[in-house]
């Protein structure tokens, strides 16, 4: 099950996967649960989680960690379990499309391992930070985390999509002694593979077309976020270096021009096809100049879009996608609450950090 193999002629089993996924989507925390959670202390949150979905993870990890760390590790481990389940159930084309999206965790894991080894962390410390949700198996990840050198890791990735780009970036790394070229290579590979091999927009059925549109929106939002961050930080970075191909919002040239000027950037987004969906968020951004708020609005817009699609096209990938997004939001929200309570933030501040629908 490495990220390069398994192309099969099997047909997809949408009905089975969608039924299970919908049940799990419905079991996620709702607004009431969040309202309760923001009023709890960290130990109460931990106890609350023990009585819900997260019971097993909390018990497994309870002996090793405590407090917010326990909550955080339990959250990521639970998420990993659910996403592994998705890959285990899905067959044929559905598997391809789900795996395509979940490979982002492979990218995350590879980057974590590279960073860990670069900073000289031991294998156990690296392993605890991995999210074992992607296509790389647990055994492979453990083996990679135990490697001595960056070169060893890259060699160990032989046969996966990350091997070649990393190999190519290795020279830059050796000259500059910085991880940036390697990390960029991993990210780029992920996003390039995201759009590769998908059926043509014209010949695909409507649900697949929407999936394509969704992936494109994801890339656009990623580019937008990068551009905004560069514009906001005022750092002298060439934004086109971080530009990811495949979106429709800007091309590399436009990014370079716009990243210097937040106002122009905002106008550009307002005039684009996303203008309508993001209207409230854009107004927010202009008024408060609050980047976090805007990023949350992007997340919420994406989640709402996926939800709408999943009701319009019940037997398609969109239901799975909406579950993946919702689950990720839940993990982010609980983590934000736990971290916020720990550092003594007020209710309003924590609530502002949550992405809710």
């Amino acid at each position: 099950m490495s990220p390069t193999t398994r192309t099969s002629g099997e047909s997809s089993n949408y009905e089975y996967v969608v039924a299970r996924v919908r049940a799990r989507r419905a079991a996620l925390f709702d607004e009431d649960d969040y309202r309760k959670l923001v009023r709890m202390g960290t130990s109460e949150i931990a106890r609350f989680m023990e009585e819900t979905e997260y019971e097993r993870e909390m018990n497994d990890l309870g002996a090793r960690y405590s407090g917010v760390d326990l909550i955080e590790y339990a959250l990521t481990r639970n998420m990993a379990k659910h996403f592994e389940d998705l890959l285990r159930w899905a067959e044929g084309g559905l598997y391809e499309n789900v795996a395509r999206y979940l490979r982002r965790f492979d990218a995350w894991n590879v980057k974590t391992i590279l960073r860990g080894i670069y900073s000289g962390a031991d294998a156990e410390a690296i392993e605890s930070d991995l999210i074992k949700a992607g296509e790389l198996t647990e055994a492979t990840l453990d083996r990679l985390a135990a490697k001595e050198s960056i070169e060893g890791v890259i060699e160990g990735l032989d046969g996966t999509i990350f091997h070649e780009p990393l190999e190519a970036a290795l020279d830059d790394f050796e000259v500059e002694e910085l991880l940036v070229p390697l990390e960029n290579a991993v990210d780029r590979t992920f996003y390039e593979k995201l759009m590769e091999g998908l059926p043509d927009a014209q010949s695909a059925d409507r649900a697949t077309q929407l999936y394509l549109e969704f992936l494109r929106a994801e890339i656009d939002f990623r580019n937008l976020r990068n551009a905004l961050r560069i514009a906001r930080s005022g750092a002298d970075i060439d934004p086109s270096e971080y530009y990811i191909e495949g979106g429709t919002l800007f091309d590399a040239e436009e990014v370079r021009q716009l990243a210097g000027d937040t106002d122009q950037l905002v106008d550009h987004v307002r005039d684009s096809e996303y203008g309508e969906d993001l209207e409230a968020a854009i107004d927010d951004l202009e008024a408060a100049a609050d980047l976090i708020g805007f990023e949350h609005a992007l997340d919420a817009a994406l989640l709402e879009y996926a939800d709408t699609l999943s009701y319009r096209y019940p037997v398609s990938i969109t239901a799975v996608l909406s579950y993946i997004l919702a689950k990720e939001r839940e993990i982010d929200n609980i983590r934000a609450i736990a971290r916020g309570r720990e550092s003594g933030l007020g209710l309003d501040e924590i609530e502002r950090d949550l992405v809710m629908l």
């Binding site: 009905e15 089975y16 996967v17 969608v18 039924a19 299970r20 049940a23 159930w89």
Partner: protein
């Protein structure tokens, strides 16, 4: 050209003969095709049902009913058989 009169006879059905498919055989076909349809419909519903039960066992009763609903189409096809027999 000598074929033409015969062909005209066939097209206008001036021959008095048995139909290509006797009534009873046609009824049997109807049942068979309806069963195919029901089977195909149950394939999707069944796999969704198993998925739902895997998540929540209390759904078993409801899901069982949904799974056999396409079976009604076969019963309707059986009506055709009785109509032809009578």
């Amino acid at each position: 050209m000598s074929v033409l009169p015969t062909l005209t006879d066939v097209l206008l059905q001036t021959y008095e003969s048995d139909p290509a498919i006797p009534a009873l055989a046609a009824a049997a076909l109807a049942v068979g095709l309806a069963s195919f349809g029901a089977g195909y419909a149950e394939r999707g519903i069944g796999s969704a049902a198993v998925g739902a039960i895997a998540e929540d066992e209390s759904l078993f009763g409801r899901v069982l009913i949904l799974t056999v609903i396409p079976e009604t189409i076969v019963i309707l096809a059986l009506v055709v058989v009785f109509l032809t027999l009578s």
